[in-house]
């Protein structure tokens, strides 16, 4: 029900971002989406890519400070208001969100959510019939 995201700790130099992207390129990883927050000194570059575990190992071997956290990926209909209703369900159930970003894949909207209450969130997702995407489902959507 969860997927693995790559989080890389980098400094504020564009050069370090290039180095991360080069490692992913050399490994033949396809980036689905990525996000880099603005922060006064350090930054965490978060990436969803194909074959996350192998990408994690390559980045670690290249000497990066890297983490492979589990995140929730909710697929919602590609229409106005669908994200709002999904998040409202989580919010009503008392799930706090640490960060979120989204992208579009195979005519669906994908909401990527990191929470400290993953187990509780999974229950809420099942009870409310939300569609959580697994890693294999995600790769099937990429190929489609």
């Amino acid at each position: 029900m969860t997927i693995r995201q790559i989080s890389v700790f980098i400094d504020d130099k564009a050069g370090s971002l290039v180095k991360v992207l080069d490692v992913l390129k050399e490994g033949g990883h396809q980036i689905l989406t990525s996000t880099l927050a603005d922060s006064p000194e350090f930054a965490i570059y978060r990436v969803l890519c194909t074959d996350a575990e192998r990408a994690f190992k390559s980045l670690k071997a290249a000497g990066f400070n890297v983490l492979l956290p589990d995140v929730l990926a909710l697929a919602v209909a590609d229409e106005p208001g669908s994200a709002a209703s999904a998040i409202r369900i989580l919010s009503d159930a008392g799930i706090s969100i640490r960060y979120m970003y989204s992208f579009r894949l195979a005519n669906k909207g994908i909401l990527v959510i990191r929470t400290d209450q993953t187990d509780r969130a999974k229950e809420v997702i099942i009870l409310n019939k939300l569609q959580a995407v697994s890693e294999s489902e995600l790769s099937a959507m990429i190929k489609a």
Binding site: F9, A37, G63
Partner: protein
């Protein structure tokens, strides 16, 4: 006899006669050797004038305490008399020189006779034997060679002991690791920051030092480091790391070394007279109190130094030891009286910063202190590398930063600016790590 035979493997001591002397025997030998040294120094016009002015003759030395009548020698004296002004033998009797590069002015030059080199090798061999190394061991010396005494000093000492000695020199970490595996290296000598670097490369290459190497002893030195950094290095490689003290002015490495107790470095008092003095008043401080280390080499021919001010700060821990050696135990160097930073009137040593940083398992060993002047206020920035990304949460990284800042403030009484930086981004050469950069406006 300088080249006495190497003892049996089962003997605890390389040079039992000298290592196990009683305090009375040590002091009697010191008086005799100090007299010889003063006599030798009389042949040098610069020393002769100083000794004459102070009214010191060889015959007037009757106790170790009489050394206090002799004037100090400083690094400036070595520079001012560059290159051979302080030598006490004709140049034709010298077989080697080592030089330390000075950042300002002349470098310093130290001359050696063949006897000096042999005695130097004996001291290093004594140290390595003390921590359990024997002729069947393989010693890899990952230290800079050339003018830097850590190279040839350990080379000849390890050979004197009878070990197969690999002059790997510094740098090229992949090759170092290959040598360690291929040659079954059991002992490694390197500066502490380079050991850390080697371990990082081992991790990247999937080499487990505990399984994939035969390493059993590390000798680390030439770079001041905290007890916490030593513990970290020991945990990384799974072997004991022994602290080595040397300085090219005395000979090089060999002057002091930890025994298996790891409770201070034994400074060899049959070769040196050790004093700890207040750097301001130059009066001796009591045992246990921190002061400047002052060394007199009493068994050197080419260039003995009388009461040399090392600028290293340390203290006496004791004069007996469970290992059976009664040579003075000196604490690890606490810093140098000349790398002390004075920030807003507070005296700070890099080692204080390091001690705190090493308490955090989230942080790596590499750090950089930068002093700046911002709107006429002096500030300290401490950049430190992150060891493992333990979270991808900004708030928790900020918490870590706050806690590091708080503990540093408790230690140095000033609030530094702490920056967490990615691993591998701070300046480090395969030689010594860069620790302090001072970009402040120069007053006066």
């Amino acid at each position: 006899m300088i080249k006495f035979p190497v003892p049996d493997d089962s003997c605890e001591y390389f040079d039992k006669e000298h290592e196990t002397m009683t305090r009375e025997q040590i002091e009697a030998l010191q008086v005799e050797r100090l007299r010889d040294t003063v006599r030798r120094c009389m042949s040098n016009p610069i020393y002769k004038k100083r000794l004459d002015d102070a009214g010191v003759t060889p015959e007037s030395i009757n106790s170790v305490a009489d050394i206090r009548r002799i004037p100090f020698t400083t690094k400036a004296d070595l520079r001012d008399n560059y290159p051979f002004g302080l030598s006490c033998v004709p140049l034709r009797d010298c077989v080697r020189l080592h030089s330390s590069s000075g950042t300002t002015g002349n470098p310093t030059v130290i001359l050696h006779t063949q006897n000096d080199l042999d005695e130097w090798a004996n001291q290093v061999a004594r140290n390595l034997w003390m921590v359990g190394l024997r002729p069947s061991d393989v010693f890899q010396n990952s230290s800079g060679y050339g003018m830097f005494t850590g190279g040839l000093g350990f080379q000849y000492g390890a050979e004197r002991l009878g070990m197969l000695t690999v002059p790997a020199a510094a740098g090229n970490s992949l090759r170092q690791i290959k040598f360690m595996k291929d040659f079954d290296t059991t002992a490694l000598h390197a500066v502490p920051s380079y050991v850390t670097r080697l371990y990082e490369v081992m991790q990247q290459e999937g080499v487990d030092p505990r399984k994939d190497t035969k390493l059993k002893v590390l000798a680390i030195g030439a770079e001041p480091h905290s007890e916490e950094q030593r513990q970290r290095i020991q945990n990384m490689l799974g072997v004991k790391a022994y602290n080595s003290f040397g300085m090219s002015e005395m000979c090089g490495p060999g002057v002091g070394f930890e025994c298996k107790e790891q409770n201070g470095l034994h400074f060899w008092e049959d070769y040196y007279i050790v004093e700890i003095v207040d750097p301001e008043t130059l009066e001796p401080v009591p045992d246990g109190e921190i002061g400047e280390l002052v060394l007199t080499s009493i068994k050197r021919e080419a260039m003995p130094l009388l009461r040399y001010r090392t600028r290293d700060l340390t203290r006496v821990l004791g004069r007996t030891c469970p290992c059976g050696r009664n040579h003075v135990r000196i604490d690890r160097m606490k810093g140098r009286s000349d790398d002390m930073m004075v920030l807003r009137g507070v005296n700070i040593f890099p080692i204080q910063i390091e001690k705190i940083l090493m308490n955090f398992k989230e942080l790596a060993s590499n750090y950089l202190i930068t002093l700046t002047t911002d709107e006429d206020n002096d500030n300290m920035t401490v950049e430190v590398e992150l060891e493992e990304l333990f979270t991808d949460d900004y708030a928790r990284l900020q918490d870590l930063k706050r806690e590091v800042t708080r503990q540093l403030k408790d230690e140095i009484l000033l609030t530094p600016i702490v920056k967490l930086v990615p691993k591998g981004t701070l300046p480090v050469s395969d030689g010594k790590a860069v620790r302090v950069v001072d970009k402040r406006k120069v007053y006066q």
